[in-house]
Symmetry: C2
Subunit: 226 residues, 2 copies
């Protein structure tokens, strides 16, 4: 993907900017290993502004970010993630031990922890959600992807942890009924970015060839363009 991209579009970015976008996409990792030290001034603000530039169905902007400043609260969040880690291991059955060897979060080591949640009273928003109310989660996920890519470009690691009981996380963060926590984001400096997704390096699973995810006209019908 590093080849010169020929684009006739008058709206295409200069080559170095295009390279930056593809590089961030390619080199972003779900980070669980952090090294000590705070973010630089301005970084967290830029990443959150990037998230807030995300698309949202009917412009509903369903996302809220809770920055965890209290060490005691961070410890509580770590505890409830660790509890869910054990329950997940049990649910995994024969892969339980293998799962328990994986590092699945970096909550106590990273510079910043953010809890991301969907707002309450979302049923007010109908545009693009009448048949699929879950499009609010889709929007917030795009926002988090923006955050992730911006952080990667600045050399900062981020990880999305979804191992938690939403009700318990809601309680410790004072979230109202009807709101929905979707992520614990760990953000911070890293020694290095994994050269491939960590779960691939650890042989948890493999990435599929792109040909296998692309069909033509009908599910399962192979498409020839890639």
């Amino acid at each position: 993907m590093n080849e010169e991209i020929q684009s006739a579009s008058p709206h295409a970015f200069p080559q170095a900017q295009i390279d930056g976008v593809y590089r961030a996409i390619r080199e972003r990792r779900d980070v669980r290993h952090f090294k000590p030290g705070p973010l630089e001034a301005g970084q967290l603000e830029r990443f959150i502004a990037a998230a807030h530039n995300g698309p949202s169905v009917g412009l509903m902007q369903p996302w809220r970010f809770i920055r965890i400043a209290s060490p005691a609260l961070r410890a509580q969040i770590h505890q409830l993630v660790d509890d869910e880690r054990k329950l997940t291991a049990e649910a995994l059955g024969q892969r339980a031990e293998e799962f328990m060897r994986l590092k699945v979060e970096g909550i106590l080591a990273c510079a910043e922890v953010l809890v991301v949640g969907l707002i309450d009273r979302r049923e007010r928003f109908v545009f693009g959600r009448r048949t699929m109310p879950e499009m609010d989660l889709a929007s917030a996920s795009c926002a988090i992807q923006n955050f992730w890519l911006a952080a990667r470009a600045e050399g900062i690691g981020a990880g999305w942890v979804s191992l938690f009981d939403p009700q318990r996380l809601r309680e410790v963060c004072g979230m109202p009924e009807g709101s929905q926590p979707i992520a614990v984001l760990c953000v911070g400096r890293v020694e290095e970015f994994y050269r491939a997704p960590m779960l691939e390096l650890e042989r948890w699973d493999q990435r599929m060839p792109v040909q296998q995810i692309l069909y033509e006209d009908s599910w399962g019908a192979q498409q020839q363009i890639v």
Copy 2:
């Protein structure tokens, strides 16, 4: 956000690449107005590869992309989106007329239409989904955001349409029971990118100040960093 970004991280990209990432994030639009003409050779492949570089919970890679090559199938998809558009207008009540004046899709005009779906038999994947099975949608949404940003960098517009009855879309695309369509993506050349989100220009809603989406330690508690 165009100021020089000082980053001490040895993993930070060069400035022009960082600029590219932030620019794509800032200038990406949910496009409904396309101009005629195909994509260039290689573009769709690059955008899909970018999507496939998305993060996925437990590396499950739940996304599949169906490229719509048949004009008859494209017309069917347009019809079912248009049907849902009318039902949404009814559900919106007093904003129905205002909604019906908006352009909500560009299915017949764009170069490429893709239906994005989540795979069937997702209950096999437990990692990161025991308490929140909807994390598969979150992953696929991040993948679509990658696609969107890559397209923007190359000067190509993309729009995510979620106005459809999932069951009908599943049927016309031959999708198996248990799979879930989440998007009709319209992709193509544009005369121009909207200078702000179209729903903002059309005064459907306003973007919130970033201060309002960021809390500290507790939902609703104002955070001072931005």
